[in-house]
Symmetry: C2
Subunit: 192 residues, 2 copies
């Protein structure tokens, strides 16, 4: 039983100039990340923002698809968005997961930059098989501050590819990270 959780953090993240800000929620982040989370068997997807008006906006969006008019229009969208929960901050997310699983999750921060403490995708994939809860943290805007990164239990390796350009959207990054950690390679490429 894999216990993987995802949090999309809108605070504390940095802007283009490196200042710590609270970013605005993007509608398509919720849809794309919920769909990827559902596809890859993630237990819950936390949308984290301290801003009350943003929390209310997210609540409206989610209820449209999970209990409102959207359920008639596209049922599978609601099934994905049911995984999404609103949270005030990281501590609240950790507390909730701890309540549900009986164990505090290990936090795994993601970043496009290399870090001395990087854990490889393969190591984390192996760790997940032991059944302990892990919480993947994704940053919006220009990503996390150095302090936030150093506070996490693990720092996941950046996604390396066939170029010097490394500017995936957070929607793409979540999808690729989940595929590397939980994609089914049997019959697709690993053993073929």
């Amino acid at each position: 039983m894999l216990e993987l959780y995802v949090a999309l953090m809108h605070y504390p993240v940095v802007n283009k100039n490196g200042d710590i800000i609270a970013s605005a929620v993007t509608n398509l982040d919720l849809h794309d990340i919920a769909r990827a989370a559902k596809t890859y068997g993630v237990k819950a997807f936390y949308v984290v923002t301290p801003l009350k008006d943003q929390q209310e906006l997210v609540m409206k969006l989610l209820s449209h698809w999970t209990t409102g008019a959207g359920t008639n229009c596209n049922k599978v969208r609601g099934e994905a968005l049911e995984l999404a929960k609103i949270s005030e901050n990281l501590d609240e997310v950790i507390t909730e997961i701890t309540k549900q699983t009986g164990r505090a999750p290990k936090t795994v921060v993601t970043s496009a930059k290399k870090n001395m403490r990087n854990i490889s995708f393969n190591s984390l994939r192996q760790n997940l098989k032991e059944g302990n809860p892990y919480l993947l943290l994704f940053g919006t805007a220009w990503g996390f501050s150095e302090q936030f990164i150093s506070d996490a239990d693990y720092v996941l390796s950046p996604i390396m590819a066939d170029s010097d350009y490394n500017h995936l959207s957070v929607r793409s990054a979540v999808s690729v990270v989940l595929d590397r950690l939980k994609g089914d390679y049997r019959g697709s490429y690993a053993n073929d």
Copy 2:
């Protein structure tokens, strides 16, 4: 030298009822897919639509970021969107790639459904190393018609994951497919 091309098809695709339609272009598709294409060393990203007003809209969006005001705001965004080209239909895309490379590209259709003709990610990854041009075709709306799929040279395996739910956004699907075909696993998970 890998010669990989991506086309995002807005026609011919099907709607919820299976009727063949021309879908509308989504702004964030252009951004996310261009960024993924640039990250994974794709040669060009074709936005394919027969609708003139949609072609004009795409042209406006692209020029904002590649030559207009957007270049001052976010330079790396323009670097990615420079890969994007507008095209009328699949034949036009194939003709252009053939002109550029001197060889007609093999077309590889992607689909969330299994198909008798599925080629695995690993096989295609190996094929790419031979240096011939391949054109990955991604459908918008509810995906491609059976006829369109059967006309392609190859049909790529669906992305299998840890669930029965298989409804990734096209933005997520492009990112995961490119990562499986061109992601750098050395130091990340394959040999670790």
